[in-house]
């Protein structure tokens, strides 16, 4: 069994894994990082999106062995209830979640979207989040939240 070393939310793990083990199952079943959920088996829904070396990746479509030597940030490493990431706060303020199942992936995808386009239009947000499905919100408030998150993150950068 291959041995991998992967850093998840700041903690480095050495794990022996079957080559076929999916990253999302490593996170959930082996490391107990259950904040990242699984919504489908065809990489359509995006619920399992994490940051892999700073870029968003659907962790159901990455093998654990592919993450060897990588740094993974999940929704659990992004912020805590007492000190949320601006995008998490924006989702809260704009009521951009209902059941919350798509939320971890949606927040990750939204942050990644802003790397390429720090001030996205409504249309750019809608296109940019195409790979993340939500069944509860009709996306209206998610779009608003990403606008708000972008503004707050932009301000955070400009005031530094």
């Amino acid at each position: 069994m291959p041995r991998i070393s992967v850093t998840v939310d700041g903690i480095t793990y050495e794990e022996d894994v079957e080559p076929r083990l999916l990253l999302v199952h490593l996170l959930r079943d082996r490391l107990g990082r259950t904040g990242t959920p699984i919504g489908c088996d065809t990489s359509n829904c995006g619920a399992c999106t994490v940051m892999l070396d700073g870029k968003s990746a659907k962790s159901c479509s990455v093998l654990a062995v592919q993450a060897d030597g990588c740094e993974v940030v999940t929704i659990e490493g992004l912020g805590t209830a007492g000190s949320m990431h601006p995008m998490q706060r924006a989702f809260h303020e704009e009521h951009a979640l209902q059941c919350g199942y798509c939320t971890p992936g949606m927040v990750m995808a939204a942050i990644d979207l802003l790397r390429d386009d720090p001030d996205p239009s409504e249309d750019a947000i809608r296109q940019g989040l195409e790979g993340n499905l939500c069944r509860c919100t009709g996306y209206c408030n998610i779009v608003r939240a990403v606008r708000r998150g972008a503004q707050e993150m932009g301000q955070a950068v400009s005031t530094q």
Binding site: E18, R20, L21, H25, R28, D29, R33, T34, G35, T36, P37, I38, G39, C40, D41, T42, N44, C45, A47, T74, I75, E76, L78, G79, T80, A81, M84, Q88, F91, H92, E93, H95, L97, Q98, C99, G100, Y101, C102, T103, P104, V107, E122, I125, R126, Q127, L129, E130, G131, N132, L133, C134, R135, C136, T137, G138, Y139, C140, N141, I142, V143
Partner: protein, 799 residues
């Protein structure tokens, strides 16, 4: 023994930084951000698949690849010796103990409820039906071992088309035949209404089969200590499920606990007693170990109950001026292979809804439930009411086209005017309140109706390849399920009450226990608002517990837009009882008559004096019990149930503008306006979110989604790559507003909101698509209105 200085403790509590101030403004109507969010946003979640137990085993099911077949042999022995495999079983292994999955709604005298074994024993009747299972130490090993199970099938003919299924020569799904039930309801003189009617419109509409697609796939974890059993499951109905699991498995109800932890959406799909829940419980009992099953999405598309699937033959009779004379509804409803929890009840929830907001002289509703070799259908957001609303709203547009009048004008001529409420409809329901004129006027001005009509005329004149269509839907629905008396009259197997409890804790905080079981609706926040206002306590001081039968011992759960209008009111009633008890206690402590006390801002005050006791002080006094009046117990708690006299009837006007590319058939929603009247509103943010999501699901039915079976009965749309759920890129921003006509059936004046958007939006969108194409001779486009279907409809009309 030193005496506890209760005064000092009370003082400490009063001075601690835990004390929050009650809000100066009322909580009801306030856009409170949700208490639920922080956990969900930071991944501190409790989805069933997140949970584990010592020695947990994983269950995987082998499922039928045949739509219909006799099982001649199942051999699980090959799986048994494989690495990590603890056990493997076939249906035969459960035959003596698995019972039959329940149907709680025998809607007619002639209904046939076939035996429905959780695991097939001798015959499979849809692709995906479980035929065997493997239990192993991890989910990968369990899946590997499925390959080693051998099953021999003797194919039987698939039964896929409802009309063919009802012909004499059709192969049978069940021995008793393919008709599950038939019903007919007649009100008024239908013959007379149609005789010599100047206008008769006849149309057949198809309600395609849908897959509810909650984002969280189902999961079940069952465990036992040898005496008691606990089932954690992704369900909307922990209370109903507990009763049903006890009945099906024979495990006594008092030794069975059901927990709905965090549940990632339901939309009716988790209003079910599933084969997997029963089987996991039986496996836990058999193995004496904790077992967990989590479905994959493709497994879920096959085996989570589907929604809709009706063939609607509608006939409408009207006078020359468009006044409605009568409506005849003839439905075929696809039950799928078995009758599940409320399968036959779903079309019947539309029985009194096809007449909608309109007055007419006569009404006839006939429905036949048909068995096919497909996944059973059951409740999906709206359940029967979207189908009915679609039917009548499409017909009203067809009537308008026939008469050459504006579709809103023909509706105005027929709808119940606001001064006519309460109004008993031709179908026998009494609508308590509504104002269709107000909602429509508001929607029209937001939408810019006249301007869009002018643009439409211009595009038509120019022969623009992109045509503009305007769709109207003026809907109402019956929700807030429901008055127990009415459910009993419809032969439903349970009541429609709800339960709520209030516990005042010694420190003045409030614990609310609700029988509703939220899975995204924000009950923790909304119930906190209700309680904060009623008891005069700070919003932050209220916590809401739910979804665990060991904590919330009574409930009827969450579906049918019932939680606020039934469950929220039960909580309010419990608050009233707490205040009654508190008043007695306050009067005793203040040495006055209870009648001398007035309650405001969380305190009982002796009228005309400064003497008072806050509800928190009274909670503490009840806890210490040092000085209680005669007959008063040492607790400031109360339980209450609420059972409304009537359904709730939200309504509204939805307007949709679409651009249809006549060369490619592509439909794009340009604008969408919804003005809904859901009565009084507890939390406008939550209401808006419910409407957004509801509209999106209705639009999805109109334009995108369809569960497709091939000619052999294989589901072709097993993945999210094949079953097209709309993404953010496929939907516009919906413009919302509200009118507010309070309901009279509950003390808060609230109406349900969970399903309204879905019920309203599907006909608004399809009416818009047809409106765009009507000059080309198109009279209907079958759902979903994909580019291909639109293009073919245009081609068909040109020929």
């Amino acid at each position: 023994m030193s005496e506890l200085d209760t005064g000092a403790v009370a003082e400490q509590i009063a001075q601690s930084d835990q004390i929050n101030e009650p809000a100066a403004t009322p909580e009801l109507g306030r856009p409170r951000r949700r208490k639920e969010d922080a956990r969900l946003l930071t991944g501190r979640t409790r989805w069933t698949d997140n949970l584990t137990r010592p020695g947990l085993l994983h269950v995987v099911f082998l499922r039928s690849p045949m739509a219909h077949a006799r099982i001649t042999r199942v051999d699980v022995s090959g799986a048994r010796g494989l690495p990590g495999v603890v056990a493997a079983f076939s249906g035969q292994d459960f035959a003596d103990e698995q019972g039959s999955l329940p149907c709680a709604w025998p809607v007619s005298e002639d209904i046939v409820i076939p035996d429905h074994p959780p695991m097939a024993v001798s015959e499979v009747r849809y692709v995906g039906e479980a035929v065997a299972c493997v239990i192993a130490t991890d989910r990968y090993k369990a899946a590997d071992a499925l390959e080693a199970i051998e099953v021999d099938y003797e194919p039987l003919p698939a039964v896929l088309d409802m009309e063919e299924a009802l012909t004499d020569g059709s192969p049978k799904v069940h021995e008793a035949g393919n008709k599950a039930f038939s019903t007919k309801i007649v009100s008024g003189d239908v013959e007379a209404a149609f005789r010599d009617a100047p206008v008769v419109i006849e149309r057949t509409f198809r309600q395609q089969r849908l897959i509810p697609s909650a984002m969280e796939p189902r999961a079940v974890l069952a465990d036992t200590d040898g005496d008691t059993f606990t089932v954690w499951t992704s369900t909307q109905i922990p209370h109903v499920l507990r009763v049903m699991l006890a009945v099906v498995t024979g495990i006594p109800e008092h030794r069975l606990r059901v927990v709905a932890p965090d549940v990632g959406g339901g939309f009716g799909s988790k209003l079910q007693v599933t084969a997997e829940e029963v089987l996991c419980l039986l496996l836990a009992r058999r193995l004496g170990r904790a077992v967990k099953w989590t479905e994959s999405r493709s497994e879920g598309n096959l085996t989570v109950h589907h929604g809709r699937d009706q063939l609607q033959r509608l006939r409408l009779a009207a006078d020359a001026d468009g006044r409605l004379r009568g409506l005849r509804v003839d439905l075929l409803a696809d039950m799928g292979a078995y009758l599940m929890l409320v399968t036959p009840g779903v079309p019947m929830l539309g029985a009194a809804m096809f007449n909608a907001i309109y007055k007419m002289d006569a009404y006839e509703f006939a429905c036949t439930g048909v068995f096919t070799t497909k996944m059973p259908t059951d409740a999906y957001r709206g359940a029967g009411r979207p189908e009915a609303t679609f039917g009548i709203e499409r017909m009203m547009d067809e009537l308008a086209a026939e008469l050459g009048v504006d579709p809103l004008e023909v509706r105005r001529r027929n709808w119940i005017r606001h001064e006519e409420f309460p109004y008993t409809t031709i179908a026998g329901l009494t609508y308590d309140s509504g104002n269709y004129e107000a909602a429509t006027d508001k929607a029209l001005s937001m939408f810019g109706y006249d301007k869009l009509r002018a643009e439409q005329a211009d595009r038509r004149d120019r022969g623009d390849p992109v045509q503009l269509g305007i769709g109207v839907s003026t809907y109402t629905e019956m929700c807030g399920l429901a008055p127990s008396r009415l459910l009993g009259e419809s032969n439903y197997g349970a009541g429609g009450w709800e339960h709520g409890s209030i516990r005042m804790l010694p420190t003045g905080k409030v614990e609310v226990i609700t029988g509703t079981s939220p899975h995204g609706q924000g009950h923790v926040t909304s119930w906190s608002q209700i309680v904060a206002d009623s008891l005069g306590v700070p919003f932050e001081d209220v916590t809401v517990l739910h979804g665990d039968t060991a904590i919330s011992h009574k409930g009827m759960d969450t579906y049918g837009s019932r939680s606020l209008v039934v469950g929220g009111i039960a909580v309010l009633r419990a608050c009233d009882k707490v205040k009654d008890k508190a008043r007695t206690l306050a009067a005793h402590l203040l040495e006055c008559s209870p009648d001398d006390l007035e309650f405001a801002a969380g305190a009982f005050k002796v009228r005309g004096t400064d003497a008072q006791r806050t509800i928190q002080e009274l909670a503490y006094a009840a806890f210490t019990a040092h000085d209680l009046p005669e007959g008063v117990e040492a607790r400031l708690d109360a339980d209450a149930t609420f059972d409304p006299d009537n359904y709730s009837f939200p309504h509204g006007t939805h307007l949709c503008a679409v651009e249809v590319d006549t060369e490619t058939g592509m439909v794009r929603i340009r604008s969408y306006v919804a003005v809904d009247d859901v009565g009084k509103v507890v939390n406008p943010l939550i209401v808006e979110g419910q409407v957004h999501g509801g509209i999106a699901q209705g639009v999805a039915q109109a334009l995108y989604e369809e569960a497709v079976y091939d000619a052999d009965g294989n589901l072709l749309t097993t993945t999210m790559a094949d079953y097209l759920l709309p993404s953010a890129a496929d939907l516009p921003t919906f413009q919302l507003d509200r009118t507010e006509t309070p309901a009279t059936s509950n003390p808060l004046g609230v109406k349900g909101v969970g399903e309204a958007g879905t019920i309203a939006s599907t006909p608004a969108v399809v009416n818009a698509v047809v409106d765009a194409l009507r000059p080309s001779g198109v009279r209907d486009v079958e759902m979903p209105c994909t580019p291909e279907r639109v293009w073919r409809a245009l081609e068909g009309a040109r020929r």
